[in-house]
Each structure stands twice: as C-alpha cells, then as structure tokens.
Subunit: 422 residues, 2 copies
C-alpha cells in the first residue's frame, strides 16, 4: 500500500499554474469562519444573515409553485440574461423601492460576487488602475485581483469616501494618461465599515465622475436594510449620464442560499457582462429564479426586509450599547454607528495591530476580521470589522465583553484611562 | 424628450474594455436557440434534455425536505468546496457507478461550465498551448478563449481522438519547450460528435499523458446516459497517476435548472480551483445542493438516468432511421451512431458548407449547429451537430425530412445519386 502511494506521488503531474493562480489567496474570512464551527467561539467575523428570520414557509410555498406552475422551465436551462419572470418581479420590487428600472434593464447573475468577477473580466487588463474605498469589500478585492489591476485607495471618514481625495487621485491618474477603468463604491452601510456616503458627497462623486468621464460601480447589498435615518437615493438613480453600474443581491435582504444577484447600468457594458457570463456558467439557476420570483410576487420580500430591519436594528443597538459599556476609554478608539446593514467598524489607537490580536482573540473565543484585509494598500492595521446580524443577542453582549477585555490588554497605560470591567 | 435622450447619449461614459472582453463572442448556439422560440421551427440545435421526463414530483418532495429538515443551512451561505451532504451523496452515486471517489475528493461547482472557466483561470496564461479535440465542446472553447490560449486541435475518427496525432502534436510542443497546459477530452458520447473514445485508445491516451507528464481534463456530462454497447471505464478511473481532472454535471442526467456540477482530481489543482471559485461566486447554492442531495438519497437519480437512457435510445434510433431513409445517397455523407448522450454528428461532402446552409435551413423551419463553431482551427465547414434529446419524436422525423431535402439541394448532381423523396 505504502509503496503504491509513493509511486502515485512521484508520478503526479507537474502542473504549471497561471499567473492569476499565483495571485489567489484563501479568503481570510472563510478561513476564520472555520473557527466558528467550534461552538463556543463567538463570531463577529462573517457577514451571514440571521437564519432565525429566514422565511422558510414562504420559500417552501414558492418552491412548490415553481414546480407545479413552471416545472418544465424551472428545471431547464434559462436565458443567460436571466429568467424573464424573475426580471419582471425584480423590476417591480426596485420600482416599489423608488428606483426607475424596467425588466429588460435587469441582468440576473448568480450572486453579486459573480457580477464583480465578470466586471473584472470585461474591464481589467493587467496593471490597469482601478479605484476603491479604503477600506473596501474583501470579496471585490479578491475578484478584481485575479485580473491584476493597480489599486488606488480613497480614504473614508464617517461620511463615506472623501471626494477631495477621489478627485485628487483621479486627476493624477488622468493627467498621466491612465484613466481608472472604474471607481468601485459601496455607498450604503458599507462593507466593511457600516458607513453611509452622505447625500452631499453622492452629488460630489457623480460630479467628479462626470468631469473625468468615469465609470462607477455601485455595489449595494444592504441599501434596503436601513433601520435608522432617511433612505438616500442610490448613485444609480441620481445619475443622468448612464455611468453607474448598479449591483444588487438577495444575500442580505432575503437569503444567500439562492445565489441570486442582479445588475443594471450602461447597456453596452451589461451586454459584455452577459457574454462573459455565457462562458462562465451559461446561465443562472432557473429553479431558484422561479422560487425567488414567486416569493417576490407573493409580497414576501418586503415583509422579509421589514423583519431584517427590525432584527438588525435591535442587534446593532445591543452591540453599540455593549461597546459603550465595556470598551476601554482610550484616545483613538472609536466605532461607526451604522444606520443599516450588518457591519460595524472599530478603529483602535494607531499603535494597536488587530492582526496581532486575532490569535489571542480566538483563544478568548471571540473572532472578528482584521481591518487590514479590506485595505488594498496594506493600511488599516488598527481596525477591525464586527458583524452584528449573525450572532445571537446573548453572544453580542458576551462577545463584546471578551473583545473589550482583550483590547484593554493592548492599551498602553501611560496614555489610557482603563475603566474597571463590569 | 428627444433632446434629453441625445443629451444622455453624448454623456455616456467611454468605457475601455479589457482584451478578454474583445475576445468575447455571443454563443452561436444561444443565438440560434432564439429562433426556436418561433414555434414552427424544429430545433436540432440545442443540447437541452427532454423536459417531459423531468422528475417534477421527486424534486418537489426533495425541496420540501430541504426546507423542513435543513432550512437554516439550505438558505445560508455554504462552504466553497460544496455542501457536505451533497458531496456525500455524489460520492455514493459515483461509487454505485463504479468510480472510486470519497466525499472529500469532490468539489461542487455551479455547473460544469463554471469548472471550465475556473480551469482556464488557474491554468492558462496568454498564448499558453492547450490541446482539444477537433471538434470540441463550444462552451469549453468559449471559457478557455477568454484566457487567450493557443489551441492545438487533434482530429477524431469514429473511435474518438486519434492517439498518433495527439502524440505528434504533444511531442512537437514539448520539443520546443512549450508543454501544453492540459489536454481537454470528452471521451463519452462527445459533444458535439456523439463519438466515444475506444478502450484501446483510452489506454493509449493515458500512456501518452504519462510519458509527456500531461494534465488531462476529462469532461463527462453524458457518460451515464449509455443506451447501447458496454460502459467503458472513465480515464479518471483508469489513471494511476492522478493526472486526470474529472468534470461532471447534473445537466443531462438529471436537469440543468439547478446549475450543479462537480470535479475530482489532483488535490493541489482542486485546491486552486476552490480558491478561484471564492472570488468568482463565493459558493454554490446551498438550496439546490440540498434539494439535489435529498433527490439522490431517495434513489431518484438512478431512476432518472434509466428514464433518460430509454427515451434517448428511442429518439436516437428514430433519428438514425430517418437519416437512413431520407438523406440523399451521396459520396462523403455520413453520420455518427451514438451509443449514448444527446448528439449526433453529420459529415457532408467536402464541397458543402453548413454555414451557407443555415439561413436556408431556418427558412425551411429546421435548425442545427454548424460544425465549424466546434473547431478551434476553423475547419469542419462540411459538418453539423444534431441534437435528438429535445425535439419530440414527430419533430425528429419531420425535421430530418426537411434537412435531407435541404442537403439534397446542395448536392452536385454529376457525382450524386439522389434518391427520390418519400
């Protein structure tokens, strides 16, 4: 047996991978999530919706209808552009959310992550400059990186990306003849920061985009999950020049298990994305498309969103209260106060490094994602992302206690006033 | 209004696409399929399974179980490697089919088409040589082409790819220091030709692969749909050196509407594919994975395959009889006699060009796919692919009549003996 194994090993082919394969990294989040399978670890690491509010009964009814009423189509290949019935329902849903969209404008994708990969495929050649927020969604960086762009990161404050920095960066690129292929933004309850781009800055960003003739990618997984403050118009709806590609998904507002996203924007670009999808997976799942379409048609999507808002408001408030109560009072320690979405962003004093903390955090049975992972320029060492949608209410309080205790240990006492633990 | 539209047009951004986008082509098959929406056109063009044998009741029962018994997991994100329950069921199914596979060996993908895209991503750098059959699956060519390889095509006869030609091509490449990244083969009831690689040639191909240290991609969507002759071992099962990546899918043996495929092979390569999938769509649909897993667990997959074999045997025989009866008797006209799968391949006299025929064919209300589309070297002008799984029995007979009449018109009469039409 042993010899046989060795024989097989010595004969295994010497596979030569592509340069793109050399740029692949295991997702840090997905690796961290493995830790959460140990049941006593409290995870603020993932971005998973709360399964206790999943609409099981409504999905079951929709699945039965999909088979009974549309069986031959639901089990067959569907058009690459997406199942027409779902595109109609998505357009109707978007219209009810105040967006002006027709069914024909909608391109169904198998997750918004797929949209990001297709965007990379049709737009990025090696060393092309692209612009992203600092920090930005780790999955977008992963998707784009496989096409080897040159990143330019734009810093954010608690009102979102800073327009003056965007302008300066774009102007510098353009003046050297290297207009960025696109600017990738998550304006609402950003992943990872939970920060929302203010209305004034939205106008400013669109004005800059117009002046420099930029393509904007607006990734919008959380927009409908606003549980406080006033809904702001999407960049897509404010744009009068068709320069915004709008990327949506069911993963946070409904459930991730269907892998359904959708995209709207410049017709020529969408056409290219459709062609790219043909070679990538031919088409999305007709079955989940029909189930989702019936789910929307029956009015369940709005109910589900209302439920999510209620639940995530409560959980975010709990987390904010716990942070307020347990975190050491120390200069340079702050966190975002999200008005929606599923994430909250903690900034620690400059001298702290969350990468150094993560191992000890896991030993203390609480995990988060280190902020550096979201920064295309390797900055953000003193930041971390916390998710409040997935952990239970008890876990939120207990987890923040553990985290606060841990951070307390890293405080340099000469400059800090550590409050005694409760 | 009019001015406004013009204003928008002039302001639309000047999008600069990637080189990969420039290589994208609309799938000829998907374009042709649009013609089939005209109800009186008989289509031999697609590769769609017969929806009249889809297992509606069993899928419905499996969907209900997925929600009732695994709801929280079925609507959530799943591991990138695939849902463990499905991987177990797939391994058990493969074992019953005579393959030696463990659940951990299986990487679930969102269609075998996705596997082909991921293979391109982790293996192909621009201008890398890869080897494919002449003809080969159009979707594979589409997936690989976006990574810009240099194709080497190996001719086939009715026993599959010709080993001597494979050896010559590989030897020439290797002697110039350009070992092909992989050899892509569809050994069973090949798409498009319907031809099966003989056992003797399978041995020969593996021997060549071993000698030149090649990676083989075995795409196997139809293998279980053998309705005549004896099942041949897969290259994967014959391989003792772990140099075969085996690509499977539900699309033909169960239904395409779930977008589920799976992959087994060299562990290091599979690991790279998993990492590439993370950036591409994060994970497959947990929901369809659970539905499929319950479907298999309940013993329905084997029943479905039995039904498919019975139906496609009957349809293929009808098509062969109709070809025999209606095709003009002319030198150089022949067709494959598939022992399984869903396609049949027609070779016309050298002087005929199916691309010239296709428009007239559509006018005669019958369509096929021109053979050239499957040839990486632009050859195959006198060939066409016919699908027998999707059209009804009546359509098969009537469609072949129409096709035979059309081909008859292209026969050069000095060399032909045209049989009077029935």
């Amino acid at each position: 047996m042993c010899l046989c194994v060795i024989e097989r090993r010595t004969k295994m082919p010497a596979i030569q991978y592509s340069l793109a394969a050399g740029r692949l990294r295991r997702s840090e989040i997905r690796e961290l999530l493995k830790l959460t399978r140990m049941s006593d670890v409290i995870s603020f690491a993932g971005g998973l919706p709360d399964p206790s509010i999943f609409p099981y009964q409504a999905v079951k009814e929709a699945a039965i209808r999909a088979i009974d009423e549309r069986g031959p189509l639901a089990l067959q290949y569907s058009p690459t552009e997406g199942e027409p019935f779902l595109r109609e329902q998505l357009a109707a849903f978007m219209q009810r959310q105040g967006e002006s969209v027709a069914a024909d404008d909608i391109f169904e994708v198998a997750s918004s992550q797929q949209a990001l990969d297709l965007i990379g495929k049709v737009l990025i050649d090696p060393h092309d400059p692209i612009v992203v927020e600092l920090p930005s969604y780790i999955g977008a960086l992963q998707a784009f990186t496989s096409y080897n762009p040159e990143y330019r990161g734009i810093r954010m404050d608690y009102n979102g990306v800073i327009p003056e920095e965007l302008e300066r960066t774009v102007a510098a690129l353009c003046s050297s003849g290297r207009k960025p292929k696109f600017v990738y933004l998550i304006p609402d309850f950003q992943n990872p920061s939970g920060i929302t781009l203010s209305l004034q800055r939205r106008k400013k960003v669109l004005e800059i985009a117009s002046r420099f003739d930029l393509l904007l990618i607006e990734d919008s997984p959380y927009r409908e999950l606003r549980f406080a403050g006033e809904m702001l118009p999407s960049l897509y709806s404010m744009d009068t020049e068709r320069r915004v590609l709008y990327v949506k998904t069911f993963s946070k507002i409904f459930c991730p298990g269907f892998r359904i996203g959708w995209v709207m924007g410049p017709a020529d670009l969408v056409e290219k994305l459709v062609m790219a999808k043909q070679g990538t997976d031919l088409c999305s799942s007709a079955f989940t498309s029909f189930v989702a379409a019936y789910f929307i048609e029956s009015g369940h999507l709005e109910k589900q969103i209302a439920l999510g808002k209620e639940r995530y408001l409560r959980k975010s408030q709990l987390m904010l209260q716990a942070l307020q109560k347990y975190m050491p009072e120390v200069e340079g320690l702050s966190w975002s106060k999200p008005e929606g979405g599923v994430f909250l962003w903690v900034t620690l004093p400059e001298y702290m490094d969350t990468e150094e903390m993560i191992k000890e955090a896991a030993e203390s049975k609480v995990i988060f994602v280190v902020g550096k992972a979201f920064h295309c320029d390797g900055s953000g060492g003193n930041t971390m992302r916390l998710n409040f949608s997935y952990p239970t209410e008890e876990q939120i309080v207990e987890g923040i206690k553990r985290l606060a205790r841990l951070i307390g240990k890293f405080v340099r006492h000469e400059s800090a006033h550590v409050r005694p633990q409760a």
